[in-house]
């Protein structure tokens, strides 16, 4: 009797775990996209755009810095 209850109980746990996994897997995610590696293309594209913007910001920073330097030199002379 004790054995049967134990088997029933363990089965219940196993079923509930499987059910949970199934429920989780029915939620559609971009698994295939990520698995096939195509998401890396998007990541690269976004990274390139961001790098471009950052490089632009660095250039702008340098331009302002040069202007500040020129200005302080002009004040001195």
């Amino acid at each position: 009797m004790k054995k049967w209850i134990l088997i029933l109980f363990s089965n219940l746990i196993a079923f509930s775990v499987v059910a949970q996994q199934e429920a989780e897997e029915t939620i559609e995610m971009a698994d295939a996209l990520r698995a096939s590696g195509k998401i890396y293309v998007v990541v690269m594209v976004v990274t390139v755009i961001l790098m471009g913007l950052i490089l632009y910001l660095i250039r702008l920073d340098k331009k302002v810095g040069r202007l500040e330097k020129d200005f302080s030199e002009k004040i001195k002379s």
């Binding site: 989780e24 939620i27 559609e28 995610m29 971009a30 990520r34 998401i39 890396y40 998007v42 990541v43 976004v46 990274t47 961001l50 790098m51 950052i54 910001l57 660095i58 702008l60 920073d61 340098k62 302002v64 040069r66 202007l67 500040e68 200005f71 004040i75």
Partner: protein, 228 residues
Amino acid sequence: MAKLTFDLKNNWWKLIAVILVLYTVIGGFLIKVPRIAIVQESVRNQFFHVSMWFSMMILLTTSLIFSIRYLSKSKTKFDLLAEEFAYMGIILGILGLATGSIWARFTWGAWWVNDAKLNGAAICMLIYLAYVILRNSIEDEIQRARIAAVYNIFAWSTLLPLLYILPRLTDSLHPGSGGNPGFNIYDLDNNLRLVFYPSIIGWTLLGLWIIQLRVRVKELKSKLEDIS
């Protein structure tokens, strides 16, 4: 040929900004995220949409501090900083509204829903746009700085009730509203936190960089006006 080396002593935080923002984008796309029905992969928007609002809050609070300091010290520099911090905060807020609208379209089914959180955020942006208009409508510099500083305190104090208190008093579709503590489902996930917290710092530092550039240009301009 201009030297391409970066003065790291003064600009180390810009390097951190670049690293954190790149980490946000790369990590934000590639890490494992929790499986949530309807939201699905769009939960990754947390690193972009939600951090916009967090960064906005940091920048607008800094703007408030400079406004208060202006009122007590009357230094023009504080007024300039308050202005630029507020402008960058407004830009991040508008980006937050726009990205939120896109997210809402694909998870709730509409570009805009009459939700306490959404309407509150829109009203906040209008209040801050009034700050910009107010600044531009006053000719006298000292008067402008003083009135703008007082208005900034008023504008900031509407942020907390409109964005955080009122939405929690009513039902809301938006996470973190309707009596729930903020980020109940997402924040429990440690994977999300791994990118979310750095992303807030990254976007804030990037905003700070743009603010610094604008402040430097404006200071140069006023110096130029002084000598001519």
